[in-house]
């Protein structure tokens, strides 16, 4: 399977998506707004997983950073009583960044199976710590988060205001990831998937390439965790659990590995799927994810984005060459 992202496809699909996400929500009922807001932070976390995947790096432990961001918020509220988004978003980003800077020292040496599983091990360590250090973390009960403020004005997690704030963060993340992927650092990341030997013989350390990308992914995870904490209003150790990491990977796979519109489509589809599945098949939700993943891997390696492109090609009557598998 080829890793590719048709960045030239961004403008049109991106403009349409942005327009829909900005204009439509005021006309939607509250529960859909809630699902959309969840899709926003899901998207941000998944961008981290997707970016790593561009270098052929799969992580089963990205919930580590998501939980780091979420608990950074939790502790801030618990000890400082601060609920200000303008402070907490940078804080969550910083927490994710620092965690990635530490864990990344180990991780930058590994690829493939080891990278995937070591990430999982680190996230399970955090899960264990969150569970056991209950006098700090609240244990299985977790921590209550309450309502955020934006520049001092209350912004409930299910409000339109909060949705637009999350959407703004999505815009910023999209810009950052887009520029990263078009930059030398982003290209070296993709080059890593192709040929590490050539990179080293170009005078560039592959470990640095991994480390930098890992920092970006961790930071995005932290931001996503902050947004999630206020949307859901409650944080629990399960935020660091493998199922959470598995869901990130699932969405990344749904929305084709790289790129921006793909994961957004994946995140939206995922949140709606989950909303219905948890209502009608609460015991079979993982099974559904598993089956969908299996089908994508075996029959549609491009994910939903490839399906979209095929439909678009049929409508506009030209092949954009997006089907590279």
């Amino acid at each position: 399977m080829t890793h590719w992202m048709d960045w030239r496809a961004l403008p049109r699909a991106g403009v349409v998506a942005a327009a829909l996400l900005i204009l439509v929500p005021p006309f939607l009922p509250g529960w859909i707004l809630f699902v959309l807001t969840k899709a926003m932070f899901m998207f941000i976390a998944v961008m981290g997983v997707s970016v790593l995947l561009r270098g052929g790096l799969l992580t089963f432990g990205h919930a580590l950073y998501y939980a780091t961001g979420a608990y950074a918020v939790g502790f801030c509220i618990k000890w400082l009583g601060v609920r200000e988004l303008l402070f907490l978003i940078p804080l969550g980003a910083l927490a994710g960044f620092i965690m990635a800077a530490l864990v990344g020292i180990v991780m930058a040496r590994y690829r493939e199976v080891f990278f995937a599983m070591l990430n999982l091990a680190f996230s399970m360590m955090l899960f264990g710590a969150l569970l056991k250090l209950y006098w700090i973390t609240g244990g299985t009960d977790g921590l209550a988060i309450g309502t955020a403020t934006l520049a001092g004005i209350a912004l409930p997690g299910d409000s339109y205001g909060y949705y637009y704030f999350a959407l703004t963060m999505v815009g910023i993340v999209t810009l950052v990831v887009y520029r990263f992927m078009a930059s030398p650092a982003g290209y070296f990341l993709r080059a890593m998937y192709d040929n590490e030997i050539r990179i080293e013989y170009s005078g560039v350390a592959v470990r640095q390439v991994v480390y930098r990308t890992y920092l970006l992914a961790g930071t995005l995870g932290g931001v996503a965790g902050v947004l999630a904490a206020f949307t859901i209003g409650h944080i629990v150790p399960e935020d660091a659990f493998w199922i959470q990491s598995g869901e990130f990977v699932f969405v990344a796979l749904l929305g084709v590995f790289g790129g921006v519109p793909g994961p957004m489509l994946g995140a939206l589809v995922f949140e709606f799927l989950q909303t219905y599945a948890s209502k009608y098949f609460p015991l079979a939700w993982q099974m559904m994810m598993g089956i969908i993943m299996l089908l994508i891997i075996l029959f549609q390696p491009g994910g939903l984005w490839a399906i979209y492109q095929r439909i678009e090609a049929r409508i506009t009557g030209k092949d954009r060459g997006g089907d590279h598998h």
Binding site: G56, R109, Y110, V113, A116, A121, A129, M293, L294, I297
Partner: protein, 298 residues
Amino acid sequence: MNLLTIIVFDAINYAATLFLLSVGLTVVFGVMRILNVSHGGIYALGAYMGTWLALLVLEVDLPPVLTYAMLLLGALIVGFLLGPIIERLLLRRIYGSDMHIQLLLTFSILLILDDSMKLIWGMEPLFISEPYSMLGRFKVGGIIYPWYDFVLVGVSVVFGGALVWMVRATRFGKLVIAVIHDREVSRAIGINVNLVFTVAFTVGALAAALGGAFVAPKIAVVPQFALEVVVLAFAVIAIGGMGSIEGAAIGAVIVSFARALAIHLAPELELMVVYLIMILVLVIRPEGLFGEAELRRI
């Protein structure tokens, strides 16, 4: 002195469990170069099937001795059924693919297996104590130990020995080693590589299911322990060296001693200590204690 005895006995018992839990994973990785994340699912399914069958025996008032046979039967059913099905229908299609595709595929199988168990057996824990209690207990230095634990140690030694013998001394073992060294050449000289893969994966699945079934009487079988099992098993085989049966044994011993020490001396660290050792070993020796470093080719 007393504490030391306890720690040593605990460690030996737990090492047997860990070995049974991880040896299948290392066999599959060694032969096929695929980390089978669904291993934990097969393990859990073996535990469920064995326990469920054993409970059936008790329900219809058959002699409790038969529970041992039922545990074995449950493991055999799961191993012989799931092994070939997963390998033939799913894995075979992604042998040439990237590592992350292979990981994702086995991960999706795990998700499916995990929920299947919830749908079949519900969310309530399943528990059978007869095979455990029937064997009685003995005393060491004032501490009471169940014999079952030592049967388990015996089972894992015999099982591990049989696997090593199979690889080292049989014709099939030679074929396996040939396939490990060079798939293409093996194919060219007429070895049925596909068959070797099917058998290797089935052996791995069988090992997982056996481990699950025989460890089950010691624990309560609950939903969602499948993935923790894989992470633990991965830690064990990564420490010992991926793909090495002896490595899995050494890894199991190291991990279980560390865990026993942690439980008795610093209980908060129980969960962490396994991963800490793994990280430590991998930082110092990325190929694991018994693994072979893979040479990069230019």
